[in-house]
């Protein structure tokens, strides 16, 4: 195969007042023409730093110590600014991580693409600029949205725009920096599908940077696994996923939650990457299950172990032996008597807009964000609230916690009615509901020590506690007393989230609201927090409302799942039943979109009646997007609630008909517009 780009012995350091830190060490790999190469690793492993160097780009405080990035024979690291500009966008293009912040907010998206083509004079001969831009939009499955501003497009559409822009000059190499991280599962899959499609049509090479191995399985030919700035394994994607050789690759793969992955084999990763605890030998040694004394002192470099495979581990033969699957006893022994009802929500209706004076006079009502929610939580039960962004998951949590008084509906806890407004609730009621936020980096006060953070709720609720209590709760979440005198910034993301959980547990609540508490964390950390939550649930019999967009995580933790779409409850079912037989078309879409650990040739189902628009507040919100829509009745009338074994679905299609799963679509269609 012909090499397109070759990275040779790249060493990069970041400067700080404390001195230089090596973030990339001795990284070498190559990408052939038309090949998709994946770079995977946890946050802080240096994968993005390497990727941006392929565009000849580095932040001001970073320094390339040694190394070459040879693109078609020229070293990008030695190019002058002008020649580099001729490369960028034209021959090597970037698809950024966050399209919402990466598109210029004050410029129409068409002009942003035009600018790219004009700069590189890349208009195909005999074609007008207008026609070329329209063609590019069509290529990524968008209508002509050139006159729109970025904020007028959805996240998925914005990402399609950046992809259209990246391929505008027919580049040889596309660098993709976590291009689907902020997107919903279904959107994510459509983008992946689109990228695969573009690759086969245009034939460009790709460097795909991500922390998500399941996604790489769908698109990459070969994968490089990075740890602490070094490549520890390079292998063809299917081989890596089937039989990872490096202990780190094994742990990483084991940590990934998948919907199908109930028969988990190897154990996940322990510990976290700490650059201050590096040994002179193998970087992974402190976290490795196979480490010996020699590992600590002998640096490991990539050695070929098979024709297409290199591994940087002298013990790879030992670690590659598959462990005997440790069958985890499923805790199916449910209490025979149904525990009492803890929380019940009836006819909840929420809106963010307060009606103005004019609206009141004219009798207008503002649209509801969330409608007709009926939900119950029993003591000690974990109910997951699942749905895409904007479906109203967090809004419901806000109403339960009292931060958003509902427009209509009743919320009661333990038989007593909860006042809609936070300030009118009793101290006791406040104590019983505790909230854990998505991002622990911003939900803990950076200026207070952990001790003060933990003591604050105890003071507030007048709970007597001694040092033992704090140590006990820290132990509960897998930390030790030494953390009490640290500041949040001295902790890793996972440790901070543990503190947030400890803080919530301290006051002995009956209900924990977990609002996307895993999404800001690395997979290996996620796996361990899930483990922690599971043990807490058993030990403390605390009920949880677990909000998530990730069905794979949900299945490891939740007893029941409530599926939400555009503010309406589509389905409620026991977790296992839901996964085995989703029934509701929307649940089915979500499940199909969740990537497995092997290439699954996912093709999104086309909607049955794309032109249909639901009557707001009356029709089924899924109308127009639903692959099983039966007719205009879906859009015009309220879907009936149909009882199923363990819950209900809200759908016009009869349950019996839904139970027979539609055959997966055979014909490959152009991706639907997100």
């Amino acid at each position: 195969m012909q090499k397109l780009i070759e990275v040779r012995n790249l060493n990069i350091a970041y400067g700080s007042p404390a001195g230089w830190t090596n973030v990339v060490q001795g990284v070498s790999f190559e990408i052939a023409r038309g090949e998709a190469f994946g770079l995977v690793g946890e946050s802080g492993c240096g994968k993005s730093t390497v990727a941006y160097r392929l565009l000849g780009y580095g932040t001001v405080n970073s320094l390339v110590q040694t190394g070459e990035v040879l693109f078609d024979g020229t070293d990008l690291l030695k190019l002058d600014a002008k020649s580099l500009r001729r490369m960028r966008g034209n021959r090597i293009a970037l698809v950024p991580q966050n399209p919402t912040t990466s598109l210029s907010p004050g410029m129409r998206v068409g002009s942003q693409i035009r600018e790219m083509i004009a700069t590189h004079k890349a208009l195909p001969p005999g074609m007008s600029m207008q026609a070329r831009i329209a063609e590019l939009f069509a290529l990524v499955g968008l209508p002509d949205v050139g006159h729109r501003y970025p904020h007028e497009l959805s996240g998925g559409q914005q990402q399609r725009v950046t992809i259209a822009m990246a391929v505008a000059c027919n580049p040889d190499l596309l660098v993709l920096d976590e291009p689907t991280t902020g997107l919903d599962v279904t959107t994510q899959r459509q983008i992946i599908q689109l990228l695969g499609d573009l690759r086969s049509r245009i034939g460009m090479a790709m460097l795909y940077v991500t922390h998500d191995l399941a996604l790489l399985a769908q698109i990459a030919d070969r994968v490089g696994v990075m740890y602490a700035g070094q490549l520890v394994e390079v292998a063809p994607c299917d081989q890596l996923l089937a039989a990872p050789a490096h202990p780190y690759s094994r742990g990483l793969i084991a940590s990934i939650p998948t919907v199908a992955g109930t028969e988990r084999q190897a154990r996940g990763l322990r510990g976290v990457l700490r650059r201050d605890q590096m040994s002179t030998g193998c970087k992974f040694e402190p976290r490795c299950d196979f480490a010996s004394a020699a590992c600590r002192s002998t640096p490991q470099v990539l050695e070929p172990v098979a024709e297409t495979r290199t591994v940087a581990c002298m013990k790879w033969r030992e670690s590659a032996v598959p462990e005997t699957p440790a069958v985890k006893p499923r805790l199916d022994a449910k209490a025979t008597a149904k525990p009492e009802r803890l929380l019940s929500i009836a006819d909840l209706d929420l809106t963010y807009r307060k009606p103005g004076l004019f609206d009141k006079l004219l009798g207008r009502t503002s649209p509801s964000v969330v409608r007709d929610i009926d939900l119950e939580l029993r003591a000690g039960e974990v109910v997951a609230l699942v749905g895409e962004s904007g479906s109203g998951k967090s809004t419901i949590a806000r109403a339960i916690s009292g931060r958003l008084p509902p427009r209509a509906g009743l919320i009661s806890l333990d038989g007593g009615l909860l006042d809609p407004a936070l300030k009118s609730r009793s101290v006791e009621q406040l104590r019983q509901i505790q909230y854990i936020f998505q991002n622990p980096d911003v939900s803990l006060n950076p200026r207070r020590r952990i001790r003060a953070i933990l003591e604050r709720p105890l003071d507030h609720f007048g709970i007597k506690a001694d040092v033992k209590t704090l140590e006990g709760v820290l132990e509960n979440v897998g930390l030790h007393a030494g953390y009490l005198d640290r500041f949040p910034e001295q902790l890793s993301g996972g440790e901070r989230q543990r503190i947030a959980i400890a803080r919530a547990l301290l006051v002995n609540p009956k209900l924990l609201i977990c609002d996307e508490i895993l999404s800001a964390l690395d997979v290996s950390v996620q796996a361990r927090i899930v483990e922690l939550l599971r043990s807490l649930k058993e030990k403390h019999a605390v009920a949880m409302l677990f909000i998530s967009h990730d069905l794979a995580v949900v299945q490891q933790l939740a007893d029941r799942v409530a599926v939400l779409y555009r503010g309406e409850l589509m389905q409620l079912a026991e977790t296992e039943t839901l996964l085995a037989a989703p029934l509701h078309p929307y649940t089915e879409m979500l499940l199909e979109a969740a990537p497995g650990l092997s290439k699954d040739h996912y093709v999104s189902r086309p909607p049955a009646m794309p032109a249909s628009k639901p009557v707001p507040g009356i029709g089924c919100p899924l109308a127009g997007r639903c692959p099983r829509q039966v007719g205009s009745v879906c859009a015009e009338t309220r879907p009936p609630v149909q009882a199923t074994g363990s819950g209900f679905i809200r759908c016009h299609v009869p349950v019996e008909k839904l139970a027979t799963r539609a055959a997966p679509p055979v014909e490959k269609r152009p991706a639907a517009v997100v």
Binding site: L55, Y57, R85, R86, M87, R88, G89, N90, A93, L94, P96, Q97, N98, T101, S102, L103, S104, P105, G106, M107, E115, M116, T119, H120, Y149, H151, E152, T162, M165, R353
Partner: protein
């Protein structure tokens, strides 16, 4: 909400603000001790003459009636008659406003250059010597009172190196070259006083924008640095500086009073000082109302520009 509804609501609020200002001015001047009729006719005027004058000036009517009377006249363009000179205020104000507008416009153009150029230089050379030097200079200028700066410039360019006139007295007879030369020193003083605030805000917001994802993507699209700066960075960085500029225009009104005084420039500011010294109440009312209107209008323009520069604002509720 459509752009038009947004605009309409902003204009409505501006009008309401002005109405409130008019009430305040009226109340304050009403609360001043002394009798207008006595001031005009002098202490030894007969009681009869005073009464006649009072009824001519509607002073015998209740305050509420007089307020609406004044407001109605004002809205029709009838600003009343100056007590001190006996001339219609519109005739006195007209040429002065033109002079001040000329001076402000000149100052504003200089201001734009003085604010943008150093800020761009600083933001693109962050942390380097030139950044620090400009920071120190702006800090020094920031802490100088405006009359002191005016006097220093006067000394430098009119006394030590006499290239510009010390007195900016112009009349209808002056040629445009003379007018321009006369305006340089006061305009530069005003511009510097305004620019030092804007430079700091603009530098910081430009640094932030230069660090943003969209500027990085623009760079990685292979655009020339100038295109990245002027097309992607600057339009977004200017928005915070717009509010400062609107506040600056408020300063301009106050600054004009002092700077015009220092350079004896026959503008609106000197007129306002005269009116205050002579307690020429109708003239004070008219000048204060006009300066308030300018201030409110400037903020309105800044708001509208911000909306135009940031399409996102149009969508916000």
């Amino acid at each position: 909400m459509s752009v038009f509804r947004l605009l309409a609501s902003r204009i409505l609020f501006s009008a309401l603000t002005l109405l409130l200002v008019s009430v305040l001015i009226f109340l304050i001047l009403e609360a001043l001790p002394g009798d207008v009729a006595t001031r005009i006719l002098g202490r030894d005027a007969t009681a009869r003459a005073l009464e006649v004058l009072r009824s001519q000036l509607h002073l015998d009517q209740p305050a509420l009636v007089r307020y609406f009377h004044w407001l109605g006249d004002f809205l029709r363009g009838d600003l009343g008659v100056s007590i001190a000179t006996g001339r219609p205020i519109a005739d006195v104000l007209g040429p002065r406003i033109v002079n001040t507008l000329l001076l402000s416009l000149f100052a504003f153009v200089i201001y734009l250059v003085l604010a943008l150029v150093p800020a761009i230089i600083q933001a693109t050379n962050r942390g380097k010597a030139v950044d620090n030097v400009i920071s120190v200079i702006t800090l020094i200028l920031l802490s100088l009172p405006d009359f002191l700066l005016a006097t220093m410039l006067l000394f430098l360019f009119a006394v030590a190196v006499p290239i510009l006139p010390a007195l900016a007295t112009i009349s209808e007879a002056s040629t445009w070259q003379e007018t321009l030369r006369a305006m340089v020193l006061p305009a530069v003083t005003l511009a510097i006083m305004m620019a030092v605030y804007a430079i700091r805000v603009l530098r910081d917001s430009l640094i932030e924008v230069l660090r943003s994802d969209y500027v990085r993507l623009a760079e990685l699209k292979g655009l020339r640095p100038r295109a990245v700066l002027f097309r992607h960075a600057l339009p977004n960085a200017i928005v915070p500086a717009l509010n400062v500029t609107a506040l600056n225009l408020g300063f301009l009104i106050g600054g004009v009073v002092i700077v015009e005084r220092v350079f004896s420039y026959p503008g609106f500011g000197t007129l306002l000082i005269d009116a205050l010294q002579l307690r020429d109440i109708p003239l004070i009312k008219a000048t204060v109302m006009i300066s308030a209107a300018v201030y409110v209008a400037a903020n309105l323009v800044a708001d509208v520009l911000a909306i135009l520069l940031q399409p996102r604002l149009r969508a916000s509720r």
